[in-house]
């Protein structure tokens, strides 16, 4: 259930809404989760400082209520899980600059958001012995300070030759601030890297496209203690692919060849589960 309002005045725009979430679980065998009715408000302000609609600055305050999902609540290994829902108070300040040009650079946009999340009972997945039944716990109180930067650009070299580059970077300092007496107070929570970066680039000439992707993740720890004993190393993975689009029997088809993990890196996203080495894939699709 949602109630929303919007208000516009000159360079300013204000939005507000209140979301009500009502949850009721019933179970035949065993224990159902508690029923809840929660109100979470959001307040957002956006303003164009140069009167130019290319640049916007915005700020918002948002309360988020996330109930544990079905897997988190009921897929337990030995006894019912007492998982509390997550409450987040999010404060955000950001800016977007987006513009069309009539040059080789056709379009460029960059967005930056700095945010502070005050999380109560953060729901955390700890990979367990089997993938279907993970261990899910609540971390009492987590403080998250983050920065998201996203860039997107479209290029046109000629009528037949176009390209695009986009990139996203996230900085996230998520620390456990539940109990000052804990040894790991103020340390990064499990499986959360401080830096992540994705880059996508592609060029298209007539019917042929070439793409390149890259993912970077900095190191993580698999327990709450940020000690070298519990380190899971970061990784840098690149993929590349070539795509050929044509018509076969008047149907739009595409044939693509991709190389994943181009530089054959040894890496793990989850500790003790090594990811595939360099691999190749050929795809044929009837599509546009």
């Amino acid at each position: 259930n949602n109630v929303a309002a919007k208000f516009k005045a000159g360079k300013w725009e204000l939005q507000g809404n209140v979301l009500n979430t009502y949850i009721h679980d019933e179970e035949e065998l065993g224990i159902a989760a508690k029923s809840r009715s929660v109100f979470t408000p959001t307040l957002m302000a956006s303003f164009a400082p140069l009167g130019d609609k290319n640049l916007h600055v915005r700020a918002f305050y948002k309360e988020i209520f996330r109930n544990p999902n079905f897997t988190e609540q009921y897929y337990y290994a030995t006894r019912p899980r007492d998982i509390k829902p997550e409450y987040v108070k999010q404060y955000d300040l950001g800016a977007t600059y987006a513009r069309h040009f009539s040059d080789v650079l056709q379009y460029f946009s960059i967005t930056a958001d700095a945010y502070y999340n005050d999380v109560d009972n953060k729901i955390l997945y700890l990979p367990g012995r089997s993938a279907e039944i993970p261990s899910v716990i609540n971390l009492g109180k987590v403080d998250i300070r983050g920065l998201d930067v996203n860039m997107k650009s479209l290029l046109k070299f000629s009528n037949k030759f176009t390209g695009s580059i986009s990139a996203g970077y996230t900085f996230q300092k998520s620390v456990d601030v539940t109990d000052v007496k804990d040894e790991f107070y103020g340390e990064q929570i499990p499986y959360t890297p401080e830096h992540t970066l994705t880059v996508n680039a592609g060029v298209t000439y007539n019917s042929i496209s070439v793409y390149y992707n890259h993912i970077l993740s900095s190191l993580r720890y698999y327990t709450s203690n940020n000690k070298p004993d519990y380190l899971v190393p970061g990784y840098n993975i690149s993929d590349a692919s070539v795509q050929y689009r044509f018509k076969a029997y008047k149907m739009p088809v595409s044939l693509s060849a991709e190389v994943n993990n181009l530089f054959n890196q040894n890496y793990e996203v989850v500790r003790s589960y090594p990811m595939p080495p360099r691999s190749y894939r050929l795809t044929f699709q009837i599509t546009k």
């Binding site: 367990g128 040894e183 519990y230």
Partner: protein, 358 residues
């Protein structure tokens, strides 16, 4: 000479005096052999559930320094998955690693590896759990229903004795080995017996019926064997049972509020047992009554008491804290009056404390 002259008497007197004074030195009591002195304490950390990160933490008393994982520091390799027990016998320490199914026999003072044994039955892991010693033999219980007999001189396993299902802790009393058969790997259908093994013939002579899911066993100096059964988590509650080792019959069995898998640490007339409400109960084994509801006298709170040990030499009581079972634990050391002396960080799930002498 015909007559004793004074000169002769004087010589005899002098010689006698000298001889008797020498003899006096020889009859002085010989000095007592030096009392054993503790060098430090090992903590066996089980590691995370389903992971292979067991560690052996060592705290040196002389230098007051802690080594997070002395096993890998000294041997260049990890302990493996779920190191469950370790005991010192003679000059060696025997570390039992349950999920990796290995026994690491190391030098007790340096932790340097002497022998590595893979506990397998053909290709199947036996999954060893605990070890006790008697007259040069080590007895190792394994989840596959056997007790292995290892000769501590040759370091070879000589025999496997079949007991009940999923045996856990063991105790020796009256020249017999008592084994708690938990049956705990068969959820919903636990075992409910204690096997009695004759230590002369090394065969099982009897099974005593007890409450379901027996795990912890210890023997006192009065011929009694104490057992904690954990029940079935539904309608049968944990029980504290006393077995008379003279007759191999259950003397008494009463419901008790105990922590799962708590060791029963017996030192002299007192047994220390971890309770289900995070206390350290003191039980008098001579009078068979509870001496103290909580040994801890200064209000120190332990999040999740996991194991307890008593150092008979110093009277100190060691209690480990597993916290939330996923992070590094802590070892609390209390003096004999129940006041906390100090605490040190351990690895994940500190399950066993072992004292090593200088």
């Amino acid at each position: 000479m015909k007559t004793l002259t004074i000169k002769h008497l004087l010589i005899i007197l002098t010689v006698t005096a000298v001889l008797t004074s020498c003899r006096k030195d020889k009859t002085e009591p010989t000095p007592e052999p030096p009392k054993a002195e503790r060098a430090g304490v090992y903590i066996v950390n089980q590691g995370s559930f389903g992971a292979s990160n067991s560690t052996l933490t060592y705290y040196d008393y002389t230098t007051a320094t802690r080594t997070g994982d002395i096993f890998s520091t000294v041997n260049g390799t990890g302990l493996g998955a779920t190191a469950n027990d370790a005991q010192i016998y003679g000059s060696k320490m025997y570390i039992i690693v349950n999920v990796s199914s290995t026994i690491e026999i190391v030098n007790a003072k340096t932790a340097k590896l002497i022998k590595h044994i893979d506990m397998k039955d053909g290709e199947v892991n036996r999954q060893p759990r605990y070890v006790v010693f008697n007259k040069g033999k080590a007895f190792i219980s394994s989840y596959d229903g056997t007790v292995a007999v290892l000769d501590t001189a040759s370091l070879n396993i000589e025999k496997y004795i079949t007991v009940g299902r999923n045996p856990e802790q063991m105790a020796i009393s009256n020249n017999k080995l008592y084994v708690a058969n938990s049956g705990g790997l068969d959820f919903g259908n636990p075992d409910k017996t204690v096997s009695v093994i004759d230590l002369n013939t090394l065969t099982e002579i009897k099974k005593i019926e007890v409450t379901v899911n027996p795990v912890s066993l210890a023997a006192d100096a009065y011929g009694d064997v104490y057992l904690i059964s954990n029940g079935n988590y539904v309608d049968i509650n944990p029980t504290f049972t006393i077995i008379d080792s003279n007759t191999d019959v259950v003397k008494s069995a009463a419901e008790a509020n105990v922590a799962y898998g708590s060791p029963i640490a017996i030192e002299g007339d007192l047994a220390f047992i971890l309770t289900g409400d995070n206390k350290v109960q003191v039980y008098n084994v001579k009078t068979e009554t509870v001496a103290k509801e909580n040994f801890i006298s200064d209000g120190t709170a332990i999040t999740t008491p996991y194991s307890v040990a008593v150092d008979g030499l110093t009277g100190e009581v060691f209690v480990t804290d597993a916290k939330n079972f996923a992070v590094d634990g802590e070892l609390f050391v209390f003096d004999s009056s129940g006041k906390k002396k100090y605490s040190i960080a351990t690895g994940i799930n500190p399950g066993r404390v072992v004292f090593v002498n200088k």
